[in-house]
């Protein structure tokens, strides 16, 4: 057995990693994470429960807070679901069909990623306001978008758009086309092939995209704050309520809401994770 020139191996049964830098990189990573993430985040929980569980519960179950939480999570859910549906169509069209400007449109799908949320916010508001390009037309159809919860859904739709499309595209590209042809030889028509053969394979990435869009939408602030009416109990999102309480120096209240958001998000993510695991096991089977 060769003796290395470096320090003796204290654990003869564990192979010493040949590549250096483990301690340095992992140490630095953990330090950075602790300073920037763990310690600050823990402050929310400590401050949130500091005044006592009872106080926490009082704040969180207040009518205004509940309304804002319902709005934030509800709008995010609807927007994510809409994104799942339209995102599937967009990903399908981008993967399977050819049409002019396809490459540019494909690149543009990432726009919500790259565009600052405030810019998106004012642009969408102006677009869907009663006198806006689209808002005016929709108003004549009896649909009011800006300054209503529907506006919030529209903003979250914009924000979450790339998540579903970008998770579906690689999955669609990897589909085994021979399997689709097999279905055709067995007599299935286009819809049957899609519903029975293609869609089952797409559930895992679809759920992933949905989860990502949902998580992003729940906490979204910048793009929503302009298009929402921001009226308490009606169109006030939870992040805005946090800021309002902060401005009133109600730290306890602000942190309570923050904790509630984090906990609910965490639980929902666990649920979606479980759903994904099930879908992967059921349909993945490579």
């Amino acid at each position: 057995m060769a003796r290395s020139a470096s320090a003796t191996n204290k654990h003869p049964n564990k192979p010493r990693p040949t590549i250096p830098g483990f301690g340095l990189t992992l140490g630095y990573t953990m330090l950075y994470l602790s300073l920037i993430v763990l310690i600050p985040l823990s402050s929310v929980f400590i401050r949130g429960f500091g005044p006592g569980l009872g106080h926490f519960w009082d704040v969180v179950t207040g009518a205004r807070v509940l309304a804002s939480l319902r709005l934030s999570f509800g709008a995010a859910l609807i927007a994510a679901a809409a994104n799942a549906f339209f995102g599937l169509i967009v990903a399908w069209v981008l993967t399977r069909y050819e049409f002019p400007f396809k490459r540019i449109i494909d690149a543009m799908v990432d726009l919500p990623f790259a565009l600052p949320t405030a810019v998106a916010g004012i642009a969408l508001t102006t677009l869907y306001a009663p006198h806006g390009w689209l808002g005016g037309t929709l108003l004549s159809l009896g649909i009011k978008v800006a300054y209503t919860p529907l506006g919030i859904v529209v903003a979250l739709l914009f924000i979450g758009l790339p998540f579903v499309v970008r998770t579906l595209q690689p999955a669609l590209e990897e589909l085994d086309w021979e399997v689709e042809q097999a279905a055709a030889t067995l007599g299935a028509n286009a819809w049957q092939t899609f519903a029975r053969v293609i869609l089952p394979a797409l559930w895992p990435p679809l759920l992933t995209g949905f989860a990502l869009a949902f998580a992003r939408g729940v906490g979204e602030y910048g793009s929503v704050i302009f298009i929402a009416g921001n009226r308490p109990m009606k169109s006030e999102i939870a992040p805005l309520l946090i800021i309002t309480k902060l401005e009133q120096y109600d730290y306890a209240g602000a942190t309570a809401i923050a904790v509630a958001m984090l906990v609910i998000s965490f639980l929902l993510m666990l649920a979606i994770n479980a759903l994904q695991g099930w879908a992967l096991a059921r349909h993945g089977g490579r």
Partner: protein, 283 residues
């Protein structure tokens, strides 16, 4: 597979959807920016307060991006080249900022560094301003944007494995030499890609910065905050003028992204799959 009509219908539906939610918002930024004429546009973007905002935005990005880049490289190195318990927990931890609302991201720094915060007393006693000042903005921006570089690099480095580094070591190179001469050239496209995304987000961050900044004009307003102020004052054209600069930045980012993806196709959509990566590692 489907009929021609069905195909056209789907394409039309997709395009209409994208137009309503993607293209039109982008167009309206520029239309509104120029709605009062080019002169007004120039006045808006060269206004001293606007320039101060641009300066601050650039400063924050200049600090944030390199720091996050170093973190990203370190984290990716640790994760890709070694096996250790808790690796998937670490990856999930890195993804954390994506699950946290930007407002909460700002809130936590107020809780730690604010007047009422853990270090508040100490900071005030020493005349150090963190929240409602530039350092606070930098911290909040770092929190929100640090995953970007890491998430790009981790899959890239995992895909490349350890072979090249082990070869270099066997030929006598030490750790740093290996990193500079072997690893870095290998990951340069992924690194550039991550830096690009990190920068775009850093310059555009709104929610977190809004909470910690204090909105002091000329001092603690970044470009997105400045846009908000102008808009709330009903100075719509000016707001969109400044916003158009950010929109141009976004378009530049997209173009650079496309270019990088054509150079290194494996970067495509890598960022969105690292969650699956974490999951597969658990399984």
């Amino acid at each position: 597979m489907s009929s021609r009509l069905g195909r056209l219908l789907l394409i039309a539906l997709a395009l209409v959807f994208l137009a309503m939610f993607l293209v039109l918002p982008l167009i309206i930024v520029f239309v509104e920016a120029l709605s009062k004429g080019f002169g007004a546009y120039l006045a808006a973007v060269s206004d001293p307060l606007a320039l101060a905002a641009v300066q601050l935005t650039l400063l924050v990005a200049a600090i944030t991006v390199p720091l996050n880049m170093i973190f990203g490289i370190a984290a990716a190195w640790a994760i890709a080249k070694f096996d250790f318990r808790g690796k998937s927990a670490l990856i999930t931890l890195i993804d954390l900022p994506f699950a946290v609302s930007p407002v909460i991201a700002g809130l936590i720094f107020i809780l730690v560094f604010g007047g009422n915060g853990w270090f508040g007393g100490w900071l005030q006693a020493h005349g150090v301003h963190v929240v409602f000042a530039v350092p606070g903005i930098v911290l909040a921006t770092i929190f929100v944007t640090f995953p970007f570089v890491a998430r790009e690099l981790i899959p890239v480095m995992q895909a490349q494995g350890k072979d090249d580094e082990e070869t270099a070591l066997s030929l006598g190179a030490d750790g740093w030499q290996t990193f500079w001469r072997v690893t870095l050239p290998n990951i340069r496209w992924g690194l550039l890609y991550g830096v690009l995304l990190c920068n775009a987000r850093a310059m555009g961050e709104f929610g977190a910065v809004s909470v910690v900044s204090g909105h002091v004009r000329g001092l603690t307003n970044t470009m997105p905050l400045h846009v908000e102020i102008l808009y709330n004052e009903y100075n719509v054209a000016a707001a969109f003028s400044v916003a158009s600069l950010l929109a141009l930045l976004a378009l530049l980012t997209l173009a650079a992204k496309s270019l990088l993806e054509s150079r290194a196709p494996e970067l495509r959509r890598r960022a969105h799959q690292s969650r699956d990566l974490a999951r597969r590692e658990r399984v």
